[in-house]
Symmetry: D2
């Protein structure tokens, strides 16, 4: 039984880590960090935990925390983890950072897209990008995990087999993504009020969204050269779920069976990636509350393009679930421990 | 490890039984009965079960089923269970009926409110009303369970301590209930289309809803005399959740502490009933996906009434969860086995 | 053609006044007051008005405004109108206050329920409660209108005929109300975020909501004696709409036809109150975007109670529409001018 | 004052024609055709019209109808209009067909994509594609209008200026579209039940949707050569609204100002197309209930692509509103008569 601490426990991702760890047999949450709610009962902030969590919220003192726990999750805004972390902390506890601070290897690129100075560039090299299905072995040995962004997780897993195997032209990739509103966080903003989101859909961050370079990096590693993409996220009137619809030109003529075989090659033995049957489209509802990513594809012979689709729960595989999956790998637990919730439908 | 069969496995309640039993360590689902989808893969009907359930849908032959399984869940329209059941079946398998067929002891009352003839009145006496928190000992010994309706479960648990202890006047009870749309089932009806339900609220079955006599019976047993109530359900644009707001005149002057003590007397040791802190209102979101019922009350000294509130997930504690809880009691499993999902929020 | 000014034009009610007045042939909006958005283009705050409104937001200087316009709408938080108004303003412009400041005649009661000091008690007597169907003649002569609250409008209109005619016992009235989220305003609060409201329902302000005394006053005027009620509002995951479900014991035996005749007596000639056909329940969707209130009732012979129901759009008849209807009466325009939008469904 | 008849008046599009015509000063609805609801009161099917429409539903006898009215709207499934229409009808009444029967000039293409035989190919040439902003003069002289599909309207208007002016490479166009559920019609299907759509998003008709050839035709006319596109629609949990996000490679280097000038060239004088300010994304909520289409674009210098976006109400500009706009042109009414509803927000 290890102990975990969460910095940012009262955000939606932090709250989801708590939900998952309550059902994890090898971990106990020992620190509910939340600068905004210090000394308030955690279950008063999240009423769903009434009688299930008795603890009060603590501050975000990462030094103190490292003395108390084995693993620290930072579910915090960009820049905070980088500003708190140091060698002393890493020597005492493993850190899984759900922010973008250590996802991008090129610090200049990070600083340009995020508009802030990176406070701990010395740890960027060491940090392992925690996309478990792709970097499993490195994750097992890591002290510091850069937990992938929600859009990059779904996008990369949807496209990876085809770009890795050279079946698509990397210069033609367009990713049109749709996300539920929990991805926008729990901050009190007019734009995220019920009446502003309900019965509405819009794109945002068009051609400028910060997850763009992260996706480009991962796709670039897969195909061995620099990739530039178009990435357009949209805000959808639902709580949870990300759907990615990605387009690319085929690099050569391929049949359904050939493409299916490529997906199977990479995902057949993966617990959490499900390649759906022919012509079945991924739906966010069918993975809700679970760590699964459902992917599928459709070849359009008229345009010689392939449409790649992926659906997942942005708070689980897109954040907390993947963080727990990383933790499981780092501590030698079963990879799926605490993560086998069946998707809830309806 | 016992075997379970489900008749009506492709309805929303049946599907939820499958979800819960997949996480239950003592039970295996051996029969997915669905007259409408015979020979189709169950996971093709409910895509959330892709790669998790391989079975195909079977017919609803209860005789054959009783030879194969230890427990049969009937999640079917009114009348079907009564038309299929017989002594032979009950001698081989325990039956948990999620329909109303065996909930009302007075067959005339059943036939009047449901407008159908009862086909198996000889089993009404034997059937145990499966409200676990109230009838636990009888349930343990039962062969046939009448699994309570969703509204009756939430209404009865919200009101029970006060009517049992004589704190409210039974002739003044008014129950205003609100339900998510999954309660209307998966039948293809215009009235339940997305565009008809979304951005809308209405009452239905005003003064005539079939759950009325079921609630009246349970409240009547609690206070030892006949009770007549007003019960008004409303359809809410959400998938899951029931909220009950009940009103009654106080039988005598009582303080908050006295009433709280009465709720605690009945529910303090109950896993699945949570009496919230003072002035905190139950919210359906805070029990979503779980077997919990959150209850609370407010005394209005101006009108000498008490407002009693309860929130639960209509598909879990209001249907499948309670059915599994009954099964656990009947087979001597831990009562909460397979039912400790943490409510999912948001 | 008269000129109108709006203080609080960027709230949801203010925005709805703008929408309605754009279609009104006798009025021009000359002042978009919004302390929070001074000097910003109004259409930048509400993108629906792009190319339809060119004006910028102004401050809330009521003195200056009174020199410029014929009618001032104050769609502002409690207390603001009372703190700004004076005889000079009222001598120059008519004022329609959408806040609660002048709704309650007993200043002590106002101060107790609202927890603030009333800054202009000298105008309370003069103010006319702007429930057009009931106070039409007084409204025509008024300088200052207390525009009714959303819940009080729907509650009073649903119950008025029966309490006025002595058919129900005033001491037994219970009002269970449900409102879309626009009623909570456009302030950035965590509780009103999409993810907190969606897939959720809860009661709030139980036994303490500020609309309680306003409803009690109106019902009291109707029956000629003091009335105490229970009023419980609920927050519903939809943008617009209020549904009231009200319960009362019948004062004597009456038939459906007798009660229907009483509703018709009061509403037959009213443009905006529609008494639905027998057994048809009011639905908020069927009045959305319009100034209509749909009402109906059901007698329960078992309990000798009557259930009274009303549905309306909280932003139209519950706020902006009624304000415009009041303005029409005050200026001698056709009462329905600018208010004949057909409800939008779906 | 002309008379209008509607075949398919009880579908969502037919119902929306009724809503719009009730506010139109030059037209009276004289025939509510609905095979499914013959002899039932129209307001019993759509409760929003209670007291506003007294008529009963009629059959869909187009011959009889043509003797009674000046214009016939057919808001019916594919194939029905073509099977009913003849020269006699067209000599007596103008016909505006909201189905796809006369949208595609190549009858073989129509039959291939729609999988049915065309019953009236002799009228295809005569029919005018009723996209008012592009074919205004032809529409004025037409007897038979092929009212455009919802996706084609929004897609074509979003892309038209750039493809017409040769600024984009037609072979690179990808259209990712998102629609509210009213686009799926009012048929009772499990897939459109509230619980199946709410909290869910999925693509459908990937690479096979029937609106693909219609969009390709219109874009082809604009650029003077055959165009093949990828078109992927998605189902969104909201009632109304379509958002189009379209991608294309720029044919040459252009600045924001140059592209903006091209949009303005085509739409500056159009009442119903609004080119938003720089960096403002179209939102469906901001056109809800109105005939407006909001469009905008973003140049991505990294990928040399342009992202074109359009938002509209699928039932108004995407169906009934455009049909009324066509009628206005055909009968010499003001083009915007009956269509100046202000978008409703929230």
């Amino acid at each position: 039984m290890i102990k975990a601490g969460i910095i940012g426990a009262t955000g939606y991702a932090g709250n989801e880590i708590v939900r998952l760890l309550l059902g994890h047999k090898d971990v106990e949450v020992a620190w509910y960090g939340s600068r905004s709610y210090i000394d308030q009962k955690y279950a008063d902030v999240y009423q769903n935990f009434f009688k299930l969590v008795d603890a009060k919220c603590m501050d975000d003192n990462m030094e103190a925390l490292a003395d108390e726990v084995d693993v620290i999750f930072t579910a915090t805004p960009q820049g905070l983890c980088a500003s708190l972390i140091n060698e002393g902390i890493l020597s005492k506890a493993k850190v899984i950072d759900l922010s973008a601070d250590f996802r991008i290897k090129d610090v200049k690129k990070y600083e340009k897209w995020y508009g802030i100075e990176h406070k701990a560039p010395q740890f960027i090299d060491e940090a392992v990008y925690g996309l478990c299905e792709i970097n499993r072995e490195e994750i097992k040995k890591a002290r510091l995990i850069a937990n992938p962004g929600c859009y990059p997780t779904c996008s990369t897993l949807s496209i990876y087999p085809l770009i890795k195997e050279g079946l698509i032209d990397p210069s033609t990739i367009i990713i049109d993504a749709k996300s539920g509103t929990s991805g926008a966080g729990r901050g009190a903003k007019v734009a995220n009020l019920f009446c502003e989101v309900n019965e509405n859909i819009k794109a945002y961050g068009v051609a400028t969204h910060r997850h763009t370079p992260e996706i480009e990096d991962q796709l670039g590693y897969a195909c061995g050269k620099e990739v530039l993409i178009n990435f357009t996220p949209h805000l959808i009137p639902m709580n949870r779920g990300i759907l990615v619809t990605a387009y690319a030109s085929l690099a050569k003529d391929v049949s359904y069976e050939e493409v299916k075989a490529v997906y199977d090659k990479y995902y057949e033995n993966e617990t959490f990636v499900r390649v759906l049957d022919k012509d079945v489209c991924p739906q966010t509802k069918c993975v809700e509350g679970s760590n699964y990513v459902d992917v599928n594809f459709k070849i359009d012979p008229r345009t010689h393009r392939v449409i790649m689709m992926g659906a997942m729960d942005n708070l689980v595989k897109g954040a907390a679930g993947q963080a727990v999956q990383n933790m499981n790998l780092m501590f030698g637990f079963k990879e799926a421990e605490g993560l086998l919730q069946v998707p809830m439908c309806p």
